[in-house]
Amino acid sequence: MAIDVRRRIAVPWPRKVTAGLARRVRSVPRSLALILFLGALLSLGWNIALPAFQGPDEDAHFAYVQYLAETGSLPAVAGNSPVSMQEHDALTYLNLFPLRGVLEARPAWSAADLRYWTAIEHTLPSGARSDGYAGNAVASNPPLYYAVMSVPYLLFGWLPLLKLIFVLRLFNAAFYLATIALVWVIAGDLFGRERWKQTLAAGVVALEPQVGFMSAVINADKLLIALITAFLLASLRVVMRGPTTPRVLTMTFLAAAAALTQGRGLVTLPVLASTLVVAWIRFRPQIVQALRQLAGAAAALGCALLFYLKFGTPGGAAYGGQASALNSGAGFNVRQFLSSVYQFYLPSLPDMQPRLGPAYGYRQVFIETFFGAFGWLEVRFKPRVYDLLQVAAAIGLVGFYTACVLRWRSRLRHAWPQIVVMLSLLITSVAFLHYVSYRSLLNTSGAEPLIVGRYLLPIVSLFGLAVTYTIGSLPRKLSAVAGAVVLAAGVLLSLTAIGITAVRFYA
């Protein structure tokens, strides 16, 4: 038998890879490709509209990335050098520090200012990028996001600071695009390969203004959102297709990665446990197989924990931010906590103690700062926009409830494993935020409720899926019209958000 050597040589591997990639790109559904393109445009728009360090805690997150990339070490929690000299000088001489959260302030934006800053940057000593070693406000965060962002930093670290931040934000946008694609896939798994529902779910997430905004901010939340969305997909596949070892391990690795990204990633652990229980109830695997999977999952989590303890803790608390409030400070009072949660959503009853802390509840977290509070929360839509969003959210909730009730017997009852997984993610996330908010209020004598709507973004996929389920339950034509209304609102809100942010900083 003759071997066609010439034919083998004629197709070198790079071309094969390129051809494979091209095939894969061509196989991306057109609607998804368009939504990803839209997402890339929005992220680019946000990147320009938002000057350096004007996203929430962006100065601290960038300082963490910079120190890790420059030195290979993690910054310390306590100390007096939270950012590098380079970053400190940029914050000072470009007036970017007093700009944070102060609506009347403007950056040093002129050509003369840029020349001034360039001259300063050129005279900085060689260690000016690597001396932000201690006192970083996010130093208690686990290191995964910062380690990932160190890669583009190392590639482009030679750029001047403002250019470097712009480039790092471009890389950051990949997490946003990944989230959109993952929501598309989840919608396909849940609703069947119905393009309209997949488009609606992915479109709703892409056009949620706060998600777009965060895509251009150097902040660990972006990776957390992508990882928790991926974790939801993996969990759903475990309960829908069966708990094979690769699926269980994938889900576990994603949970571990989320926990290594941000304290709020810990919410995946109870969901992981409930998913395994549901999968074993549904598929009843053999004891040996179940134990093997359990051991694999435990080993993966154990490795993540060991890795974190060995390399990922900068000293002091194991987690910072919201997670540090889990078990700290004043005593926990169950009655007061439940009353606090009740009053978060509903007006207080006559004999109730007033809620601890400021007037801060459903409207502020689920509407105002979930849909749109940009910059350091100071850039906002007009109040009537939030009024309309609150009305729309109420209509949506009623519609969602109605759709669930009407379809319970025919469809939903059979999808109980998926519902348990999604509900457990929703309940764990919201309960976690309420708990840490209550703890924080106790610890700060009611001054700091700690939570904002941005912290709900890791479960933004559930928001997109709920909207899609509600609208998808309508008659076909009504569904097309209602979906169009929701997406049009998303477009207008997203473009408005970029516009008002650019005006706030540059006009």
Binding site: S31, L38, L41, R195, A480
Partner: protein
């Protein structure tokens, strides 16, 4: 009355038309007035006011309060700041001179005495190009004046201040504005220039215009097209079923 089959809008056409109509209506109703309404033009804020604890800086007769590293743009025609006399009532605040200077540039603005206190807006001569220099507030009267500002750490600007001959921690809140009013569309050149400067010119102004047009038209067009393809595929699937 029976409807002709050919005139029944398809699902894709219905969804796409609704989406496109709403976006266009929103742009016309919401965006256009915002972009075209005339408003004062801020040309620079060397130092903003305090957020929670306002500070006042006293300037004695024949003394001055000077801030360094103040940027004055070529389109700045007016300086705004808050000032009041030490004692309320009486003859009012002392006359002041505001002296802006930088290499090759000097402008002096006069505030007539006798004011009750509040926000002052004085005309200045702008420099030919944007410059970085100093802004001095000279008390040319016979009593002290109090200038509004901040000494909060989080609102302090880059500009060091000297009152009399003493360095003082804090800033006088200063805003520069242009002559007259402009719409946001009319300010687009400056907005784009500022944005470009804050990327260290990595994104030049012309590219910002391109990106702005892409975002403004690309985002709505992409979602309209995505909805069209999705609903058309849905229709195809339903028909096949």
């Amino acid at each position: 009355m029976r409807r002709l089959p050919g005139l029944r809008p398809s699902l894709a056409a219905l969804g796409t038309a609704t989406l496109a109509t709403l976006v266009i209506a929103g742009v016309l109703i919401w965006f256009l007035p915002y972009l075209t309404v005339q408003r004062p033009v801020m040309t620079g804020v060397p130092a903003s006011a305090a957020i929670s604890a306002a500070s006042e800086f006293a300037v004695s007769p024949h003394e001055s309060a000077c801030m360094q590293s103040v940027t004055i743009e070529a389109n700045s025609h007016q300086i705004e700041f808050g000032v009041r006399p030490v004692t309320l009532g009486g003859a009012g605040g002392p006359p002041m001179e505001v002296i802006l200077s930088a290499p090759g540039y000097r402008s002096v603005a006069h505030l007539v005495g006798g004011y009750p206190g509040g926000r002052a807006a004085l005309a200045i001569t702008p420099p030919a190009n944007s410059v970085i220099g100093s802004a001095c507030f000279l008390d040319v009267g016979k009593q002290k004046a109090l200038l509004d500002g901040t000494s909060e750490a989080r609102t302090m600007s880059r500009s060091p201040m000297v009152v009399g001959a003493q360095p003082v921690v804090g800033d006088i809140a200063i805003t520069f504005t242009a002559a007259g009013t402009k719409s946001l569309l009319g300010q687009m050149g400056e907005v784009v220039e500022h944005a470009s400067n804050l990327t260290d010119r990595l994104v030049p102004p012309w590219l910002i215009y391109v990106i702005a047009v892409l975002v403004l038209f690309g985002v709505p067009s992409s979602i309209v097209a995505a909805v069209y393809f999705a609903l058309r595929e849905q229709e195809g699937g339903s028909a096949a079923a």
